[in-house]
Every structure is written in C-alpha cells, then in structure tokens.
C-alpha cells in the first residue's frame, strides 16, 4: 500500500539504502542564507558578540557532556547528551560566524594546517579570550545543580535568541531561528525537573535549594550589559541582554511558584576590576576545563578529524 510502513525506519529511506546510517532529508539551517556581513557595525564588536553567545553554548555543552554515563537514569543520560549536542551545534555555527566577521580573532596555526576556523577558536584560544558567563564554567555538582544551571541558562538564552531572529545579520537570524526550537525544549526539560525535584522528597528539595543558592550569585551576569552588546544591538544585529530581564523574570517566577521555592537573596558574584566572564575574566575552573577539552587538538595542530 502507499504510505504504510512495516518499520518506522522504512519511512526514512529515500530509496537509497546506503543512506540509512546517516538518515535522510537533513536540513542545513544556513541553506540559502545571505552570508555577507552587513555594513554599519564594528567587526570586532560583532565577532565578540558571536563569541559571547558561542562560548556560553560551548562551555555549557562541555559541562553537560561530562554527565554522559553518569546521569541518574538511562533516559536522562541521553536527554542531557542530546542537549549538549544541540548546544555544541549552536556553538559551532556562532564560532564559525565570528571567524568570518573578524578573521583576526582566529588563533594562528602552522602553515597548511587543515583545522577549520571554528575549531581553531574552540581548541586553540586561551581562557582569557573566552567570553562565556562564569555560570557556564562552574564544575558539575549533583543532578539538581545540573538542572538549575540548565534552567537559568536556557531561559535567558531562549529569550535572547527569540529576539535575535530579527537581526540584520542574516546568518545570526538563521542561527537564532534554529536555536529557539532547541532551547524551548531545554527550558521545558529543566523546568519540569526543577518542579519535580522541589516537590519530591525531602532530600531532592534540599539539594535543589542548595544548588539554587550556589548558582544564584552568577545569575546576574547572564543578562548583564556589555559594551559590545550595546554596539551590536544599536546596529540592529544583536540583542541587549538587559532588555529581556523582565520577560525572563516572569518565566522564572512561574517555575519558582510551581515549585514552591523562594527566589534566593544572595549577592551577585563580583566583577574583578570591572571585568567578568564577558571580558575574559574567569574563575579557576575554566582553565582546568579547557586543559582537558583542548589537549588532544593542541597535540595535533596539523590534525584532521
């Protein structure tokens, strides 16, 4: 008969069985998107902005990947790995865009190295050139810590990406469009677990409150103002994070209310001489994380993978 399939996998075959291992009908999120960099913005600022969003995703993705084989349930292990991969995909597109916008931001490698620009940025930059928020780089704690961090970062990132869809930079707009769908699920996943843990047992609630208390000092930085963001949003290509604070608060209040949890009253983590994660000023944890993340790539600057 026409569209009846014995197995759900039969529906994937476009008649060519050699495609099976790789699926079919893949959509390239940047297909047909105009790659020219619009006029009217400082290239270094736009590249810095791409790196901010890209590094948030890259660093958080790495921390989430550390849960692989360690999550409390098999299904949750796969869920966290999926989320890490979603974020890695966003990071790759954003880092690639930063390289196109400002090639001078890409670390130099020996002549003839086949390493692509986005990989050079990910694996050959020093920690003081990373522009992620400090919440992303904190080492993993327990499962409650993972859920709280994912809730806070996915809620803020979703709000930013929703607005970024209107960017004058067509590539950023396309990246934002793809990211919104992924982030909606990340926020849904973490919010449900947040409520489940808060309303669960005495121990799950204790751990959740402890994680919230521990992470709250680094929350303000997620939507903090920055000169590069101001520059890029004034040019119509980026989003000033301070403009989404209210809508993110509304969402978090709903989650906190459903969980029966109070907003913590903890002071924000201080900047150091006015500099924080967005300026390359990081906690001691990022250096250690990058040492592990970058060591293989750095050992093979002429490597192809």
């Amino acid at each position: 008969m026409n569209d009846q399939h014995e197995s759900v996998y039969d529906g994937l075959l476009g008649g060519d069985s050699s495609q099976w291992a790789f699926g079919t009908d893949f959509e390239d999120p940047l297909a047909g998107v105009d790659p020219t960099v619009p006029e009217g913005v400082d290239r270094a600022a736009l590249a810095a902005y791409c790196l901010m969003l890209g590094d948030d995703a890259l660093v958080l993705s790495h921390r989430l990947s550390e849960w692989c084989s360690n999550a409390p349930e098999l299904e949750e292990d796969i869920a966290l790995a999926n989320i890490a991969l979603d974020l890695l995909g966003q990071a790759r597109l954003l880092l690639a865009r930063a390289a196109v916008v400002d090639p001078s931001s890409v670390p130099a490698l020996p002549e003839g190295s086949p390493v692509p620009d986005e990989d050079r940025l990910a694996f050959f930059r020093e920690q003081d050139a990373f522009r992620n928020v400090r919440m992303a780089e904190l080492p993993n704690g327990d499962f409650a810590h993972a859920i709280v961090r994912l809730l806070l970062m996915s809620s803020t990132r979703l709000a930013l990406m929703e607005r970024l869809r209107a960017s004058r930079d067509q590539v950023l707009a396309a990246i934002a469009d793809k990211s919104v769908k992924e982030l909606a699920y990340h926020r849904d996943h973490s919010a449900r677990w947040f409520v489940t843990l808060a309303q669960g047992t005495g121990e799950s609630r204790r751990r959740l409150l402890s994680a919230l208390h521990e992470l709250w000092p680094t929350y303000d930085e997620l939507l903090g103002a920055h000169a590069a963001c101001d520059e890029v949003s004034a040019a119509g290509m980026g989003v000033d994070p301070t403009t989404v604070r209210v809508e993110v608060d509304v969402v978090l209040e709903q989650v906190l209310a459903a969980a029966g949890v109070e907003r913590p009253a903890v002071a924000p983590l201080a900047a150091v001489r006015g500099r924080s994660g967005r300026d390359g000023l990081h906690t001691e944890h990022l250096g250690r994380m990058l040492a592990e993340m970058q060591v293989v790539a750095r050992a093979h600057p002429m490597g192809r993978w």
């Binding site: 009846q4 399939h5 529906g11 893949f26 098999l74 299904e75 999926n82 449900r192």
Partner: protein, 94 residues
C-alpha cells in the same frame, strides 16, 4: 537503590506515515515524563512527528498458548477474501 518507575511502550508515526509504529520501551515516573523520554530516546534521528506512550500494563496482549485457536482458523477460509471480483482497469486506488 531501586525505584518503581513503570515501563511504557512507545509508538512513533513517521512524517509520511499514516499509523504509529511500535519502536521500543522505556521507564518514566509518569505519562508526561514518558513522552519526553520517548522524544529524547526514540526521535534522535528524525524518525517521526508524533509519539504515543502507553503504560505497558495497560496493554492486553494475546497469549502464545492461544495462538492456534486464535489465528489458524482464518487461514483456510478463502471465501472471506475479496478475490473473486474482477476490477475494471480504470478503477483507481484498489
């Protein structure tokens, strides 16, 4: 540490399919979590556009012991098949 998360059966419908197909099972604490676990575990490779999850203990299945009396009798009743009509060539969709 043991837990008592029930087992769920998962059914997925492909983009061009008309019916949900059984793809496997998983554990979850409740129906909503089962749906999300199914999305995470069984639709990673763009397998489908719709998911049904059903608690395994809600499914009543035929027993292998009854196979003969359930299914064999229909094997020799050729008069139940519509094979004795002749269709004109221009009748579509049959």
């Amino acid at each position: 540490m043991t837990h008592d998360w029930p087992l769920y059966e998962v059914f997925v419908r492909t983009k061009r399919g008309l019916n949900h197909v059984h793809v496997g099972s998983l554990h979850a604490a409740d129906d909503q979590m089962a749906l999300r676990n199914a999305r995470d575990v069984y639709t990673r490779r763009n397998e489908g556009v719709s998911i049904w999850v059903v608690r395994s203990d809600a499914i009543t299945a035929s027993s292998p012991d009854e196979k003969d009396s359930f299914f064999e009798p229909s094997g020799d009743k050729v008069y139940r098949h519509p094979t004795f009509y002749s269709l004109p060539d221009d009748v579509p969709h049959m």
